[in-house]
């Protein structure tokens, strides 16, 4: 029962329109919100990249100043990782996990909404830095002492710190939710070893999230205290070590890259079997390799620091562990290939992107293994060779897998197919563009071109590759544009998809497209891996209309009620963060910070007293 004295709007019962979206706790809507926002941020990060490629297309260019260039590469990296790839993954977790495990929603629907709104708050805060005095400019990894007050007195780094903290809260909330959901809300009969691989990878990723984010949270707190309160965490004059920042950052940062790739691998593990009409080769090994990658991801972090001077023992240990982690990763590649072997391969767009992923990820993995040798990394570190590696695994890897997933699950989410012709055009433009942009970077790196430089002299011998790379970026941009067009057109009048357009294997294909609010009219009982494939062989067909026959009465299905407290909590965080930004120099800002934090505290308090559902389904004061 709510006991607040202030008169408040009543809890929404069946809100429609914008208020419906703002107060939704439905995982499918939250997934769509994540997906749309993440795509917009992807294009923002892409614009930042295009600016850089334009600047670097010819030597001694002056399209942007060095200072703006520093902001561009910082924002490009931070945006792509935290505002594009991770939330796009979250979009899939949100939409699919309940559907794949046979549940009606996640364990904590309001917490789920909160994680989206908080993500949006972080996205707004970070992006607004461009317009509020300058974006952060010290790289996405923010090395000390460059990020300290002494070398970076403006507010850019403060935006970076506060935005990442907000985004961290969002990621943590989501990860806790998915762990409990996957562990505790599976349909009867769905043991862990019968779960879809995407669900498995989501579970492992969620554990990585809840264990890695606290580390960066503390590191950012320490940096913030140095900048705001004059503490000594990274002040060499007080005896501190900037290398500590690097350690703390990469203890988070390396698990983070597995957070970026495991969901992508999960998507591929769904698409390849479906488009090969065979079960995944070696399911238990695919699960085990994911778990092993999750464990070993904690043992390799100093391979980002081979050139820092940690000493031969440290370098050797981390080189060995890094080489070792290639094994479970490589195993997955073999298993996808084993799945395709003698399969009936359907080369429509989702499969094109999946095969593209495998190909590109192998290349990215190979350059990664080259980095694993501390000796050869000494030449490659801080050169474009690393940029090549990153983009092969993150663009060729994560992004292509996410694209595959979008083409694959778009029909489920909207009830319409994406255009296959545009899809193929999209794929080839992206594939050619991607390779044209990033393959030359291997050569640039080995030829000595450093990272993060805003221009270069014509005599360095880098002109041709840079020009080629920038041309490739134009193709990439075109490909993304085609994708956006395809997305919008198909959503409006794409060909109607049924419940099961791909002859799928997992439970989400057994319900209508788009799914009814309650997902399953009747919670299925699972007897096999690929439960829907098994059901179809037994003669069960996809349910063609909402409700279906023999299911629970729609009116007897109780879904969690919408709420505005999650939204308010996030709004409070955003206001509080903006206030905190300027609080050490302005009393007004300090008051704003206090107000913001108070809004959050009150909202969380009210939320905790609000039942999941009001007793009579109607709101009460």
């Amino acid at each position: 029962m709510t006991t607040l004295a202030i008169p408040l709007p009543s809890r929404p019962v069946h809100p429609s329109g914008v208020w419906g979206w703002l107060t939704t706790v439905d995982h499918k809507r939250i997934g769509i919100l994540y997906g749309v926002t993440a795509f917009i941020m992807f294009m923002t990060g892409g614009l930042e990249a295009l600016y850089m490629r334009a600047q670097l297309s010819v030597p001694n260019n002056d399209l942007v100043s060095p200072d703006v260039f520093n902001q561009l590469f910082t924002m490009h990296g931070t945006t792509m990782i935290f505002l594009a790839i991770m939330p796009m993954g979250a979009a899939f977790f949100n939409y699919l996990i309940p559907l794949q495990i046979g549940a009606r929603d996640v364990a904590f629907p309001r917490l789920n909404a909160f994680s989206y709104w908080t993500f949006l708050a972080g996205a707004i805060m970070l992006t607004s830095s461009w317009f509020l005095g300058g974006a952060p400019n010290a790289g996405w990894f923010g090395y000390s002492p460059l990020t300290g007050e002494a070398y970076n007195p403006g507010h850019g780094i403060d935006f970076w710190i506060l935005s990442l903290q907000i985004l961290g809260i969002a990621s943590l909330a989501a990860a806790f939710n998915f762990i409990v959901t996957i562990v505790n809300m599976r349909a009867p009969g769905m043991s862990l070893m019968r779960m879809p691989l995407f669900t498995w990878m989501t579970l492992i990723t969620s554990f990585l999230l809840i264990l890695a984010f606290p580390v960066i949270t503390v590191a950012l707190i320490e940096l913030m205290f140095d900048r705001f309160f004059g503490t000594n965490f990274f002040v060499p004059g007080a005896g501190a070590s900037p290398v500590l920042w690097q350690h703390l950052f990469w203890i988070f940062g390396h698990p983070e890259v597995y957070i970026l790739i495991l969901p992508a691998m999960g998507i591929i593990s769904e698409v390849v079997p479906t488009f090969t009409r065979k079960p995944i080769f070696g399911y238990p090994v695919m699960v085990l390799s994911g778990v092993i990658i999750g464990f070993m991801g904690w043992m390799v972090w100093s391979h980002h620091m081979f050139t820092v001077g940690l000493g031969p023992v440290a370098n050797s240990v981390f080189a060995i562990t890094t080489m070792a982690i290639a094994v479970p990763t490589g195993v997955k590649i073999f298993n996808w290939m084993g799945t395709m072997w003698k399969g009936s391969i359907d080369l429509r767009t989702p499969m094109l992107f999946a095969i593209g992923f495998i190909f590109m990820f192998i290349i990215g993995g190979l350059s990664g293994v080259m980095h694993s040798s501390a000796a050869s990394d000494a030449q490659q570190q801080d050169t474009y060779f690393v940029v090549a590696h990153i983009h092969y695994v993150l663009f060729g890897g994560s992004i292509m897998a996410l694209a595959s997933g979008i083409y694959y699950w778009f029909p489920k989410m909207t009830g319409r197919m994406m255009n296959e012709g545009l899809g193929k055009l999209n794929f080839w433009l992206v594939f050619i563009g991607m390779n044209m942009t990033f393959f030359p970077m291997h050569f640039l790196g080995l030829d000595g071109m450093p990272r993060r430089i805003y221009t270069y002299d014509p005599e360095m011998g880098w002109n041709t590759w840079n020009a080629l790379s920038s041309t490739g970026a134009a193709f990439l941009a075109l490909g993304v544009l085609v994708f956006a067009v395809n997305l919008v057109r198909s959503a409006r009048n794409g060909e109607e998809a049924g419940a099961d357009p791909w002859d799928g294997r997992t439970l989400e294909w057994s319900i209508p497209s788009p799914p009814p609010e309650y997902n399953f009219a009747q919670i299925p009982t699972v007897h096999d891996r690929d439960p829907f494939w098994a059901q179809k062989r037994e003669g069960v067909r996809a349910v063609p209309v909402a409700g279906g026959s023999g299911g629970d009465d729609e009116h007897s299905i109780h879904l969690p009620q919408p709420s505005y407290w999650p939204l308010l909590s996030s709004v409070g965080l955003l206001i509080g963060a903006y206030g905190l930004m300027y609080a050490t120099s302005s009393l007004v800002a300090l008051s704003v910070a206090v107000i913001g934090v108070s809004i959050t505290m009150v909202s969380i308090y009210a939320w905790s007293f609000e039942p999941v559902n009001e007793p009579d389904g109607a709101s009460e004061h």
Binding site: I210, L211, S241, H247, I251, S302, L310
Partner: protein
Amino acid sequence: MRMMAEETHGQGANGDIHTGHPTPLIYFKVAMSLCAITAAEVAIFYVEALGHGIIPILIVLSAAKFILVAMFYMHLRYDSRLFSGFFVAGLVLAILVFIALLALFRVFF
């Protein structure tokens, strides 16, 4: 009439693992152990002759306190192993990662 936990589950002074409910007496005994161990830690701290030797001793003693609180007060001894799993995962990872960090900073050598 009040029903006492121990009457319902017919357990002795040691608490019954299977029905998962220690008695207030157990709780009190744990509290006394915690005090005694703390007293011992402080006493050992003042024994200058041990020098750096107090380090392993105190680690063992505080680990004992940690385990007592986790097993009895936090009820892990009586609850599902999944809870212990979640907690121990974070705890062990933290210990290993930060020992590695200290090693990298040559804290031990």
